[in-house]
Symmetry: C2
Subunit: 193 residues, 2 copies
Amino acid sequence: MEFKEIVEKNRSYRRFDQSRRLDKKTLLDLVDLARKTPSAANRQLLRYVISCSPEIDSRIFETLSWAASLPDWPGPEEGERPAGYIVIVADEDSWDWARVDLGIAAQTILLGAAALGLGGCMLGNVRKERLKGILELEESLAIQLVIALGKPVEEVVLEEVGEGESITYYRSEDRVHHVPKRKLADLVIRICD
Amino acid sequence: MEFKEIVEKNRSYRRFDQSRRLDKKTLLDLVDLARKTPSAANRQLLRYVISCSPEIDSRIFETLSWAASLPDWPGPEEGERPAGYIVIVADEDSWDWARVDLGIAAQTILLGAAALGLGGCMLGNVRKERLKGILELEESLAIQLVIALGKPVEEVVLEEVGEGESITYYRSEDRVHHVPKRKLADLVIRICD
């Protein structure tokens, strides 16, 4: 698959074939990709918890909030829930640049999943103290992001919108998920050539 | 190229064949990859300036600090300087999650460059007000990151290190750049399977 195609396939998926479980090796391989990414000043402050245990997965699920822009949708129903998780943590007193490392690592994991025909979603709205308890994490560590993973069963399409148009994502009656993205010409504010 | 190979080729390169200029289309294609990435709450707060003008490139170069861990190295000499730049900016009062978007976007741009046989480096230590002037940016915008790009002419290798060993990158006498990375087993702090 060409890299551009991987980027295009890598959408934020929130409905999965829950019966297609991920295994430990797949999750570790994805974290190994994140391990090999650049890190600000090479400090490597991020740490990872992986889960492909149905029991722990269902407890992780209970700590997550889904799709703030779809207030009528409580999140995926049983059967369409994630089939594995990678939870990214860091020291509580973490450095500002660790937020950038977080984006680098999470995106690399999700592109790696897309290259395998899988998909996922970064979830930042998490009941963090409860999740720390479930994962039995040390007090000094803070949950940064939960990456939900699985074999997607939903269609997500990008829609180009002009300046001033709504960028709120929405779901059409056929359950297709639409994500408005700004045009390239609106994002590139200056070209020096 | 397999995705894993792209991730491995994507190192932080700081020496380039300056004569192999990047063109506007290549830079726009890389920004278009970033445009298609997930963005926190889909807010899309990042904006981009591209430069492949030798004159503007040399003025951008003057605002950059290189490789804090190599204090004796002032940065690439003439002939090995970047052959193009993508500067990422955002509103000054930007949201915390825009830092995560920044990592997502910058990493996607650099992976896209690696897939083309190019390479680059994220530079955060930038004389930002001076660069804003050079790029004639609106007062409300803040420089987030400069991505230097080109055809790399240096070898960068990852070295696995154990807990407690130094993670400071270094250059050996043959000018190879070594980047110590923690082991997978040290980064994955818990496995629920």
